[in-house]
Amino acid sequence: MADTMELRDIEVWDGNMAAAQALRQVQVDVVAAYPITPSTPVVENYANFLANGYIDGEFVMVESEHAAMSGCIGASAAGGRVATATSAQGYALMVETLYQASGMRLPIILNVINRALASPLNVNGDHSDMYLGRDSGWIQFDAYNPQQAYDLNFVAFKVAEDHDVRLPVMVHQDGFMTSHTAQGVKTLSDEVAFNFVGEFQPMNDMLDLDHPVTHGVQTEEDWHFEHKARQHNDLMTKVFPKIQAAFDAYEALTGRKYNIVECYDMDDAEVAVVCMGTSVETAVEVAKEQRAKGIKAGVVGIRVIRPWPFEQIAQAFQGCKAIAALDRSSPNGAPGMLYNELAGTLYNAATRAVLTGYVYGLGGRDLTKSLLNQIYADLVANAAAGKPTTALQQLIGVRGPKLEFL
């Protein structure tokens, strides 16, 4: 038996430690992992727990991220609780296996410490890795700070391992800005944390020796579509009720409330910024300052990126007149992902808010309050004009002549 770790009610943890502690507390059976900045400390912390008797699962230090996810898939199909962590290039190397993990309906938890994708090589936080996996069939949660990185891991295991779901879940947090920034994190005791997630209940497990199973079959035009359609259907219809139920249960346990879409000052908001990660906290602060100046400013944070919360988004903007979608990933020749998703969601919704897009913060560049103030000024002008007064896409916080398109 692994030792219990006595935690203070509030610990000073960065996002990496918060994630590693959550993995320890749910007693993951197999972690197969490979280090990469900025997610390395998740793996190092876990190795430390192991070295000090706090873990009795297996820890497999493989030779690449592709192997990490491959080992996770084999372990998960064998029948037990499985998790790992990665960032950027490691995530990119995993992509083949991300699709395989979800297609095989394996409840693996992947902590993604968001980082820019090379080239040029960059170790800092942006969302290009997160965006790369958005069609991979995983559920994607986004944490804005270490507390949330901790909490959302428990919710992730609970949802993923539900037998009606059986899908892998990523818990995202911003590289460095969350992963390496220590803050107060309210903890659960080991027992309470484990009991929230519960014992792993295997299904179609290879290690049930009396009931052999075949995992990872071949299907062509005769069956492939049905498999993919079923997975998509489950993502569209089954997952949100399960996430909501897990959020509710977690709130009952801890008092901390999570929403599929997080709305800040949105009840009467006329102008709103939509973003993810640490930017949400900055935007919330700026929105409050805007409100002090009499502007009805709000912020929407996407908590669940996949499946995409179509209904909740449509509802969030009911009274809104102008919306800014902030994408922290270069769309490389297109509107940003958030812009496109919002446009698709709102096109048939009751709102006729003006929608514009911003690309910001690539490679970990700060999203400053002054940039956000500028965005709100644009939004106020758009709301007054009832149409865009700027280009639909602006790159903000980048040196050189202003770059705007569309």
Partner: protein, 317 residues
């Protein structure tokens, strides 16, 4: 405790209960299926299996059917080794935590073609061996990417015509020598490494059983004559295999603990390499006058390798 099967003759073998069904889509005469049956038949223990993308995988698990009566997993082309290593790690964890449904220790076996093994999956395989998982990796070595229509691999021998190294007006086909996977895997310090051939089934079963009894990662290189890509008639698989082992193109030997080499089969009459080559369409062009020197070089290489193996066996290294 491990339980090994004791099969005395081919008749007994043919009626022994199968965990790999004959109902599969492999070509008539494909040696892959013969090898898989021989491996699975070596033990009565529970088995957890994996396969790399390739002929074996696409022909044995086409939804909604499966040919496997033991748990089996396929992820991709390069990671059959790590798939089974992950399962083995889970078994260890659940055993330690007292959560196994049955208190039995299965054997963990991965199958991959030579493309999956020598080429694309090499890093994964090396990682598994370095970490020392308790698993057996069986390479079904047909010296070509058969599943995708006969492209070269780093196991394709010199002079073979493959679709990406075809023989043509100015080319004799493959230019590189076959990679020595056995030496490489032995260099990992694996407790057991061996080359086997389906025609020498008793030798093979003995080696598989030795592998199952070993503690740590075991590498088996299984010569798998390919009727489609080597270009011979389906009914000749065993005859071609006999030529391969009796010409010493595929010498049968084992390496224990990375150092001690034993030759396990010595043909009474050694067949000239030329006969082995002549029996297969993939080498047909070598019999033109301008390429005959290659056949001579082939024979010299095979002789030199045999010499080397014998010297190592004698020196017990």
């Amino acid at each position: 405790m491990s339980e090994m099967k004791n099969i005395k003759n081919l008749k007994e073998f043919s009626t022994s209960a199968d965990r790999f069904e004959g109902a599969n889509l492999l070509c008539p005469g494909c040696a892959h299926s013969i090898i898989v049956r021989e491996v699975l038949n070596a033990t009565n223990d529970d088995l957890i299996l994996s396969a790399a993308t390739g002929c074996l995988e696409v022909c044995t698990a086409v939804y909604p059917y499966t040919s496997w009566d033991a748990s089996w997993i396929h992820i991709g082309f390069e990671n059959a080794s790590t798939a089974i290593a992950g399962a083995e790690a889970m078994h260890k964890a659940l055993k330690r935590k007292g959560r196994l449904k049955q208190e039995r220790d299965p054997k963990f076996v991965a199958f991959g073609g030579d493309g999956a093994t020598y080429d694309i999956g090499f890093q994964w395989l090396s990682g598994c061996f370095e970490r020392g998982h308790n698993m057996m990796y069986v390479c079904l070595d047909n010296e070509v990417y058969a599943n995708t229509g006969g492209q070269r691999s780093s196991s394709t021998p010199i002079g073979a015509s493959a679709t990406t190294s075809p023989a043509g007006r100015v080319s004799y086909g493959e230019k590189m020598n076959k990679k020595d996977m056995l030496a490489i895997m032995a260099a990992h310090g694996a407790p057991y490494v061996a080359q086997v051939a389906p025609n020498k089934w008793k030798d093979m079963i003995k080696k598989i059983q030795t592998g199952f009894a070993a503690n740590g990662p075991v590498y088996i290189n299984a010569m798998s004559a390919c009727t489609t890509e080597w270009k011979f008639l389906p009914e000749d698989t065993i005859a071609i295999s006999d030529m391969a082992t009796d010409s010493l193109v595929f010498p049968l030997y084992e390496i224990i603990d990375g150092t001690k080499l034993n030759i396990t089969y010595r043909p009474k009459t050694v067949v000239p390499v030329e006969e082995y080559l002549a029996a297969q369409g993939r080498f047909k062009h070598l019999f033109k006058d301008e390429y005959k020197y290659l056949i001579k070089e082939w024979q010299e290489r095979v002789d030199a390798k045999w010499d080397y193996l014998q010297r190592r066996e004698e020196a017990s290294v």
